[in-house]
Symmetry: C2
Subunit: 236 residues, 2 copies
């Protein structure tokens, strides 16, 4: 579980310790969030601001470089150079480029590699359900404001949309769909993205009831079959 919490990797050998007090929700394997679970931030050893500064500098630089060059064009090296820190800090704080994108652009505390593994861990015919549970597990806990901010950024900066396309479709959904052995993987990936974007907009931004406060099981029963059709059904 610690893997989905960026900046939460214990790293006693590096001496780079966060002084931030951000609290991330703990999202369980099935996507449920336990707000009371112990947080996995590394123990703080005094008031050393260097680590948090490095992390913040990387987030700022990453957002700039991802927007300028897209997800694929932005290299870890170029982001670290912009931040004025060693490139190894990207792995240290974010587990790699994908985790940095998730935190800097999407602003969700999730490691995409862990997420892909989780979505594929189970029967293919229940992957729609796992997507709904994990999506709600992450975003319900972080709240509507962050989703609205993400949507606002894609409506105001065209390159953010490009970076998202590369990240969501090429990196995330295509890796999941690639395992399913179905035709039209790119169209399927974008269909899934359309339902997920819409789910976020209606639940967190415009907050249409009863959708906005429906519990996770209700959402799963209503939406998972539709995602499942996009992933493994006949769409042509």
């Amino acid at each position: 579980m610690a893997d989905i919490v960026p900046g939460a990797r214990p790293s006693p050998g590096r001496g780079v310790i966060s002084t931030s007090v951000e609290k991330y929700p703990v999202v369980a394997h099935d996507g449920r969030v336990n707000a009371d679970a112990p947080q996995t931030e590394p123990k703080r050893r005094g008031r050393r601001a260097g680590g948090a500064d490095t992390r913040a500098a990387l987030l700022d630089a990453a957002r700039e470089v991802f927007v300028e060059r897209g997800f694929e064009g932005a290299t870890v090296r170029s982001i670290a150079a912009r931040a004025g820190v060693d490139a190894a800090m990207v792995n240290h704080w974010f587990g790699g480029k994908e985790g940095l994108f998730a935190k800097a652009v999407l602003q969700v505390p999730i490691d995409p590699n862990v997420l892909v593994g989780r979505l594929l861990d189970g029967p293919p015919e229940q992957i729609g359900e796992r997507i709904v549970r994990n999506f709600l597990g992450v975003w319900d806990a972080t709240g509507g404001g962050q989703f609205a901010a993400m949507v606002r950024s894609i409506t105001s900066q065209e390159r953010v949309g490009e970076a998202m396309q590369q990240f969501f479709v090429q990196t995330l959904l295509k890796r999941v769909i690639g395992h399913l052995g179905v035709p039209d993987p790119e169209l399927r990936a974008t269909l899934v993205a359309s339902q997920l974007f819409g789910m976020g907009v209606v639940r967190y931004v415009v907050r249409f009831e009863p959708f906005a406060s429906a519990d996770v099981d209700t959402m799963v029963r209503a939406i998972a079959p539709n995602l499942q059709r996009y992933l493994t059904g006949d769409i042509s």
Copy 2:
């Protein structure tokens, strides 16, 4: 067809003539757009700016009042008073409060009453298809910028989301779903809204391919069955 074009009602007896040269696409019954069809703007009789001024003043006032009071709370009388014009001008220019909301807030040239009639005109089991065709018919023609502007306004002003809830769910989708005689009409309405918002975001804002440039028939085959399930299928 003229009914879906606001400001296009001929009104020789009123002496209020548009001087605007806005061109609205002509959307046929099946949602297809014919850009070459004759426009239905009333003939201009010289350069009288009063009509266009009235119309613009109503649009500005409407946006303010809808955002302040929501769709239901905003009365035609209050909007006309804010604009400093007679309340009859709302019917004259926009066919009523719903048409004014569509033009002022959604910025689409569509009369919601006409749209509801169109969605209900045909077999209930094809209503998902009619929704996709009409949605794409309107928004493909007006382009991505207007959809992005609408999404931006709902992420920046909370009351816009409230007004949309009242308009989309209570006024538009519930009227359609009410005719279907299915349980959970409000949840179904919001599920449909989630897919439609997401469809717009992916096609017009982030423009994920191949979704963004897929032709209408491809979109219908992929998405209509999912909308149909939300409308008439088992969602619980």
